[in-house]
Symmetry: C2
Subunit: 405 residues, 2 copies
């Protein structure tokens, strides 16, 4: 089946009527529907399904075993996200199996498809939840206590989705069985589209260092009509100063990123000076020190504005991961396999985080990118051309064939 | 019964566990419980209940009739509001009836207590909904189409609360019967508390002109990690510029107010550049031109920042009311009645909007204020001392006795 056909099967699952696009969050009814779709797709291909203690789903071609070749991605989305970020990697893995089956190929190494839990952190705030838990880079107790915007803990959400929260956490046995991991993903920038010949497929070199910091500015809730300027302690002002500082911090740093996409005034009434404003800074750069320098610059601006307004500021790191440089041997092998006689396949960095970036710390890991003609991602307009998707699945099939030979 | 005792009866209704304080919005289950409480309190006092076509509740002492004296306020709140804004005026009206009954007084004019619908505009965005609809200053068709944050229309909400939405709108018969309206309210600033002798009760002179403007900044939703500065069209930046401009606009305008207390990025993901940011400017000043000058200054700053970022800006007036100067004869009569031989009662302006400000355009209207020791309002910490509340209810009883003689 084609990748586009596979994505079409879930085109109506989890649409977000307010934001547009999809809102598919971890341990939700929508995510259950997507998992069920994957289970049925795996069953139609005679793959054996196994859900691990962190809710990651594995579909084995033949008997599970050591030194396995693993491919896959995630099915969850950001709020109001696109159709490709995540599902493209899962659908391409299924399509690659179809390609290999049609050619009569029989893998000589164990091979499995994987779907990771809550990669976007759209519900519980920590991205790559399933791969972080499995690899032990996120403490299980801390994870169980994470809350969603409605105050539901991750432990409660997992339990209500049928997953025992006591089982969450480091899964060394699963990790020990992985020989290598290859994740295919839609590119989330325009590097490929700007290259001569607009290649359909590229190999990843590295991922920016990346973290999320929660800023909480506390002022004094009060009446918007009666409170004189001298009596105002309005937390919205330091928050606004920080938003502008985040952009200024990028001025001299070409490869850094700083974004405030989530900002929540409490109580949030039109005629009410907010008592508290929470906002989240997403910061990334080629290395840790530069990432932290961006955060420090935003924090300094927020702190100065908070002091001026008589507000309190607290800043909490919600997640952080250093820069990832993918396994060079695996990267070169993929590039050579896909480059063919005609020329080289591009090898490109990305600013986007992935489960592959988490696993790269523990096992040889690589990524394939499929061209994104506009570069837009994390938005309803995210797109990849069907021909590029097919080329991506074919490339993944070639890579898997090579690795499993 | 004391005012404090009456407020105690509803102390647990509509508490907001997330924001603190109360969230009591129009046509909600919480508001129904408050209406039921008022109906029972009125029944215990042999007052005859009548709900009008706009959902305002009237409790008549004796037979309804022309040239009636009306007192009351509202029971709804802002999100996370205090216990006094609104309910103090309703509870004081009930307590004043008890005071007058205990003294054996029999009103010579028709007298009624009133509870107005959705004064804060906390759910449908338009403040003083019940009094605006009744007085015809809000078009009924426009009102029926108003939506709450969940997309529920006012017409649907009214119907589900048992009120025929077809009946909403101008109610000239009800207005024609009102001889005068007196609303008691907690002060929402610190003018009284800063006066020598910290008086318990004051009479209102005027209300600032006041409006709400919805700003919508549209950019391009995109990935927070991969989108380079040159490709960013982030609507959060013009929104932040506008928040800071709102404060700057107050610099030279001592009596003006400008507040952004509500700001909503869409989709609102941490790792997503927002596609749209909506925010609301609450602006007030002693007259219309100064209010509009404040709005124009904020809009100009937002427009400049939007152009710089490649975003679109639209601005929509959601409500506007000119300055209110309360009926001078009624104001002087109340001040003389309450001043007593010992001295004058203070006569003070306010920046807060009230149903009394809407009705003032149609019938002789006055307000009494009860001291607020911190000035805090529209927040959980809003407070009035029990002794001041009792003094307020006694003052209201004296005023009603004088007016109904």
């Amino acid at each position: 089946m084609t990748v586009t056909g596979l994505l079409g099967e879930i085109a109506d699952v989890g649409r977000d009527p307010r934001r547009g696009g999809y809102s598919r969050h971890g341990f939700s009814a929508v995510e259950s529907a997507l998992r069920e779709w994957f289970a049925e797709a795996a069953a139609r291909r005679d793959l054996d399904l196994h859900t691990d203690r962190n809710g990651n789903i594995w579909a084995w071609w033949g008997r599970p075993g050591p030194d396995a070749v693993i491919t896959g991605s995630h099915l969850d989305s950001v709020p109001g996200g696109g159709a490709f970020d995540g599902p493209l990697g899962v659908a391409s893995a299924l399509a690659a199996v179809d390609v290999l089956r049609a050619s009569g190929f029989q893998p000589a190494r164990p091979l499995a498809l994987v779907v990771f839990t809550e990669e976007e952190g759209g519900r519980f705030g920590v991205p790559c939840l399933g791969s972080r838990l499995m690899s032990g880079s996120l403490d299980a107790d801390a994870a169980r206590r994470l809350t969603d915007p409605d105050g539901i803990t991750l432990a409660e959400a997992a339990a209500s989705a049928g997953l025992d929260p006591a089982g969450l956490g480091s899964d060394e046995a699963a990790l020990a069985g992985i020989g290598c991991f290859v994740e295919l993903h839609v590119e989330q920038g325009r590097l490929m589209d700007r290259l001569p010949g607009t290649p359909s497929v590229a190999v990843a070199s590295s991922i920016l260092a990346h973290g999320r910091w929660r800023f909480t500015v506390t002022g004094t809730g009060n009446h918007a009509g009666t409170t004189e300027v001298a009596d105002r302690r309005d937390p919205m002002l330091p928050a606004a100063a920080a938003v502008l500082a985040a952009r200024r911090a990028l001025g001299s740093r070409e490869s850094a990123r700083a974004t405030v996409g989530r900002l929540l005034p409490t109580p949030g009434g039109t005629n009410v000076i907010a008592s508290v404003v929470d906002f989240w800074l997403d910061a990334r750069a080629p290395d840790g020190p530069e990432t932290r320098a961006v955060v420090a610059e935003v924090e300094a601006a927020a702190r100065e504005a908070a002091a001026e307004e008589g507000c309190e500021l607290s800043v909490r790191e919600e997640s952080y991961g250093g820069a990832v440089h993918f396994d060079s041997a695996l990267r070169d092998r993929l590039a050579a396999e896909l480059g063919g006689p005609g020329g080289a396949v591009p090898v490109l960095p990305t600013g986007a985080g992935h489960d592959a970036g988490i696993l790269a710390a523990r096992v040889p890991t690589a990524m394939l990118f499929v061209r994104n003609p506009t570069g837009i991602s994390h938005a309803p307009a995210e797109h990849a051309e069907p021909a590029d998707c097919t080329a991506g699945a074919d490339a993944l099939a070639r890579v898997l064939e090579s690795l499993c030979r």
